[in-house]
Symmetry: C2
Subunit: 160 residues, 2 copies
DNA sequence: ACGCATTAATTGGCTGACCAATGATTGGTC
DNA sequence: GACCAATCATTGGTCAGCCAATTAATGCGT
């Protein structure tokens, strides 16, 4: 028999959280699309954020990257090591504090910078295709609110 | 010196794709929050979609699941194996076609069903907190459009 | 000056998810 | 009936990302 399964869509399913579910699906598709666009640059989905941070800032300690991007330190370590191996990034111990690892974008990596910007532009166009200005504005505004709601560190404690 | 890095926020950064970038961050936070809420049930982020599909449908072939959820077959195989090991799922070869694997939710797993629904509800509330009805409606509508834009399989080919 | 808490980074273990290639099984066609 | 293409699932390899525990280095307090 093998029951018929509806092709995943924004149809009410009796579990509630319709928007949340749609968001989850959109999130996956978005990441996937981004990864595809990013492929030609040699970067993987997720690495672009690290690189963008490094392009915009001088030598940075990893802990600073983890804090700024709200990533787990172990994630930063591993990803940076791979980026280093790919020649995108240069890591060196800070002589003044030998605990810290100072990271900076390699000279060659700057060639990717405009390409990454290009990718973001394409992706933006793709996801917003067919939306009028009002919708785009609304989407941006609402998304920001949602981000604040999900903001890291404000689980329960009303104030720090 | 270790340059100061701005705490990731929806601030223009010279890369364009502001909305897309915000979406990417929201996506990560959303998945993370969902995972946390899901933890008590014993499920991991991502598995809930499989389970929901199985709860709503009888014995299903894996290929059907992959198609319906738009997942890679290998992802389905691995995740289902883990779910099987956890006792959430039962897999058996179809006697009529020994290529296919028929999958169904275990009896005990149905206890999780309301909890998962609960989680979706909580998550929905969390992300939409502080949004008025109009914004919620707009968000849902726009997300659906975005999902269509990202819809799988419509990369280039205008029609099949 | 010694010791202990803090901070930085790393390792190990586990998750979903992808892609590409392989192994079964089936079903058509000649 | 033999062969060959299509289908289903699996394996092997890669990635980001998390958490928990560990090691290294610093700095503060007594």
């Amino acid at each position: 028999m093998t029951t018929e399964l509806p092709h995943t869509e924004a149809t009410e399913d009796g579990y509630g959280g319709a928007v949340s579910q749609t968001l989850a699906r959109v999130a996956r598709l978005h990441r996937l699309a981004g990864g595809r666009l990013l492929r030609p640059t040699g970067l993987c989905s997720g690495q672009e954020f690290l690189m963008m941070a490094l392009w915009d800032a001088g030598p940075v300690r990893q802990s600073e990257l983890a804090r700024a991007l709200d990533l787990d330190p172990s994630t930063v370590t591993l990803t940076l090591r791979r980026l280093e191996q790919g020649g995108y990034v240069i890591r060196a111990r800070d002589p003044h504090d030998r605990r810290v690892m100072l990271v900076r974008a390699s000279e060659e990596s700057y060639a990717l910078r405009p390409k990454v910007a290009e990718v973001w532009g394409q992706l933006e166009e793709h996801i917003l295709d067919g939306l009028d200005d009002a919708e785009r504005e609304a989407f941006a505004r609402i998304l920001s609110k949602v981000e604040k709601n999900l903001a890291p560190g404000e689980e329960d404690s009303p104030d720090a």
